[in-house]
């Protein structure tokens, strides 16, 4: 299969702020989020967002971490040696070779969302590649309670990739297309990705157009995570992080079910975990300097 036919393949990207001179920063901190599907690296200069990258996770977590960070530092002149403190997070958090500390993605997403949406955010839904977390936090972004999907990976990014491929719709267009239906179809009934795909195949054979099938799947996904959110208790100041936050077809339906509008942010929802890690790294480096301890990178 050629790359052009891989409809699930989302675009990898990087960014850095050319207006910032990292050399004049006191603290350069970083977070690396090695997820099951995607990896992000975020670099902060004195607590301000300076650079990030987002790419697919390979089979080798340490290598994915190296690549994500290398790409984030591209064209900036930064090297690993310039990072004062790095936090690894995500599924591969203990496999980030240059990290000073591993922190769970649950804590990192809460911290990242607190930065992206401000201290009022209380409920966070992280819709990742292979899991989904409902998090309740305080005004500092400290986790008070959380729940994760523990039954299967339905309602996650990987499931959406499967549908993009099945219907030959580029993954970035799935959400919009699903919203183009005139009448909302009932959600697919299967919660298992594999069975949902079988169900979708049957719907296609029955003559359903692509947008209707996608609507049925996005709706099922939204419905599924609502139950997770309701178990933890949704408060009005509610934000979504992770890749699925970019899928309007899921987000819109989720908002309708919850009768709430998710907070919007100018930051990329997918970097929330790595951003939270970098923010913790900044705090930990600040504490380290206050205590006069040996730099983490040297003691490691």
């Amino acid at each position: 299969m050629s790359a052009a036919q891989e409809f699930w393949r989302w675009k990898e990207y990087r960014w850095h702020d050319p207006a910032v001179d990292w050399r004049s920063a006191e603290i350069i901190s970083a977070g690396v989020d090695i997820g099951s599907v995607s990896s992000q690296a975020v670099i902060l200069a004195d607590g301000r967002l300076y650079a990030f990258s987002s790419q697919r996770t390979g089979f080798d977590s340490p290598e994915s971490a190296n690549q994500a960070m290398k790409w984030a530092m591209e064209d900036t002149g930064l090297t690993l040696k310039d990072l004062h403190y790095t936090v690894g997070t995500g599924y591969g958090r203990v496999n980030v070779p240059f990290a000073d500390k591993a922190i769970t993605e649950i804590a990192c997403h809460a911290r990242g969302a607190n930065f992206m949406h401000g201290p009022s955010v209380r409920t966070i839904l992280d819709m990742g590649g292979q899991d989904c977390k409902a998090i309740r936090c305080d005004e500092k972004g400290k986790v008070e309670a959380f729940l994760m999907n523990d039954k299967c990976a339905a309602g996650t990014g990987r499931g959406m990739e499967v549908f993009a491929d099945l219907l030959a719709v580029p993954i970035e267009e799935v959400g919009e297309l699903s919203l183009s239906v005139e009448e909302e179809p009932p959600p697919v009934s299967s919660t298992c990705v594999v069975f949902a795909k079988s169900e979708a195949s049957a719907l296609l054979r029955a003559g359903w157009p692509k947008n209707k099938v996608l609507a049925a799947y996005c709706s099922a996904m939204a419905h599924r995570v609502v139950t997770l959110l309701e178990r933890i208790g949704v408060q009005k100041e509610f934000a979504i992080t992770g890749g699925i936050a970019k899928n309007r077809g899921v987000v819109r339906r989720l908002e309708q079910e919850l009768k709430l509008t998710a907070l919007s942010s100018s930051y990329d929802s997918q970097i929330a975990g790595a951003l939270g890690g970098a923010l913790f790294a900044h705090t930990l480096e600040t504490k380290r300097r206050k205590s006069g301890a040996v730099p983490a990178t040297e003691s490691a």
Binding site: Y91, I103, T104, E105, I106, A107, R111, D131, K140, G141, K142, V143, E144, A145, F146, M148, D150, K151, C152, A154, T191, C192, V194, F195, F280, T283, L284
Partner: protein, 434 residues
């Protein structure tokens, strides 16, 4: 510390996954069937036991317990050779072990192996718990061939189906169903059970062809009480700021108690208690945790949690305190006393009604042992335990403990549980990161 409680206990395990191939957890929790591979989970050794976990901390004074658990079959066979006695496997800790022990029988608890298997599907309902199918698998796979008999004291339907299926499909010389009353809070429960114990005694005597002598029964009660006292004393040491034993070691100790002759276990406990005062764990205590649930014999899970920077200091489950918390009174008719002991013990949720006595008991334990957080677990599909979870969680939260709920299967997905456990520990560690 033998608290006055009127309760029963429960334990039967629970439901789980279907058949599959080793190295993958087979169950899809949603559909309850095998719907595809999940990430590899820990696998364990066969023969009803599990392989030692890497870096296991239970060397030294706890090695004896672990060795017994790892080779329980060899122990039982040697015991039979040594004593000429018979071995009965029981399915639930409501089994009146003293009565069997007095008859020269070694009562051993039938437990699962935490391995994926594919032999129980035709015999156990899909919505029954993982523990009951894991136990039955051990019988069907011939891992308890050394048993001369099996028995169960009624606790829940799931484990009873394991018992009846075992009766039907595994050749066995003797089997007995003891109708342990459910309504243990009724004043009729103890008298009822005393009569049932007399019938059980007659059945054992008939099987063995000899009477159970009164002094033998008194002796058995003494030995079992002694065992519970010694276990309490070891548990008491866990109240210290830095407990001298890990939760994993405590679990090994209680599991071994369910497998070996109490006289051997008592000797090992005496020796342990002599060594505990100068013992220290080779690591910081970390977060002080409690674990609550049905039966928690998943060593690998306990090990994983403690390796994340925590120590279990107390529990409420039937491979822990619920097994040994209550003693038998010293005076009176022995069957009456035994009946009272089993009726009044810390209850299993199947028997804890209409009053929910287990909840205040668990909260009191948490406070006494200084737990900061609690892992509330249940076996998948275990309705009695699941029904307790909201009340238990609320009571623990009200008492200032944070809680983490986890649902267990035959095998546990260590990676997926680890992130939940680590995030939970991060929550407990106050403001380290802020």
């Amino acid at each position: 510390m033998n608290e006055k409680r009127t309760e029963p206990n429960a334990e039967s395990g629970n439901p789980a996954a279907g058949a599959a191939v080793p190295r993958f957890s087979a169950a899809c929790g949603t559909c309850g069937s095998t719907c595809g591979p999940q990430p590899p989970t820990a696998t364990h050794g066969g023969d009803g036991n599990r392989q030692p976990v890497a870096n296991q901390t239970s060397a030294g004074p706890f090695a004896a317990f672990r060795d017994w658990r790892l080779d329980r079959a060899a122990y039982a066979r040697q015991w039979k050779q040594r004593t000429g006695g018979k071995v009965i496997g029981y399915f639930c800790t409501y089994a009146p072990e003293e009565l069997m022990y007095a008859a020269g029988i070694l009562p051993v608890r039938i437990l699962g192996s935490h391995e994926v298997q594919n032999v129980t599907e035709p015999h156990i309902f899909g919505m029954f718990c993982p523990f009951c199918r894991d136990c039955l698998a051990q019988g069907l796979l011939g891992r308890y061939e050394y048993l001369d008999g099996i028995m169960i004291a009624q606790s829940c339907l799931h484990i009873r189906q394991t018992f009846t299926s075992w009766q039907k499909h595994v050749p066995i010389d003797y089997s007995y169903y003891l109708p342990m009353p459910h309504h243990v809070q009724s004043r009729h429960a103890a008298p009822f059970l005393a009569k049932e114990l007399a019938i059980f005694q007659a059945s054992l005597e008939d099987w063995l062809g000899r009477k159970i002598a009164a002094p033998a029964l008194e002796n058995a009660i003494d030995i079992y009480n002694r065992n519970r006292q010694l276990l309490w004393r070891v548990y008491e040491t866990r109240q210290a700021a830095d407990p001298p034993l890990s939760g994993e070691e405590a679990l090994e100790m209680v599991l071994a108690a369910q497998m070996v002759d109490k006289q051997d276990h008592n000797a090992a406990l005496e020796s342990l208690l002599a060594r505990l005062p100068e013992r220290r764990l080779p690591r910081p205590t970390g977060a002080r945790l409690m674990i609550l649930g049905s039966k928690d014999d998943d060593i690998e899970f306990i090990h994983m949690v403690e390796a994340c920077g925590a120590t279990f200091v107390i529990d409420d489950h039937c491979t822990g305190t619920r097994y040994f918390w209550n003693n038998t009174d010293p005076d009176g008719d022995p069957l009456d006393r035994l009946a009272r002991r089993y009726v009044q013990r810390v209850p299993c949720p199947t028997k804890d009604w209409p009053a929910r006595t287990r909840v205040p008991h668990a909260v009191a334990l948490a406070k006494k042992y200084g737990a900061q957080g609690a892992i509330v677990m249940q076996q998948k599909f275990c309705d009695p335990h699941e029904a307790d979870v909201p009340a238990l969680t609320k009571a623990l939260n009200d008492a200032g403990l944070k809680t983490l709920f986890l649902e267990f299967d035959v095998t546990v997905p260590i990676g997926q549980f680890k992130v939940r456990v680590e995030a939970f520990l991060e929550m407990l560690r106050e403001d380290d990161l802020f």
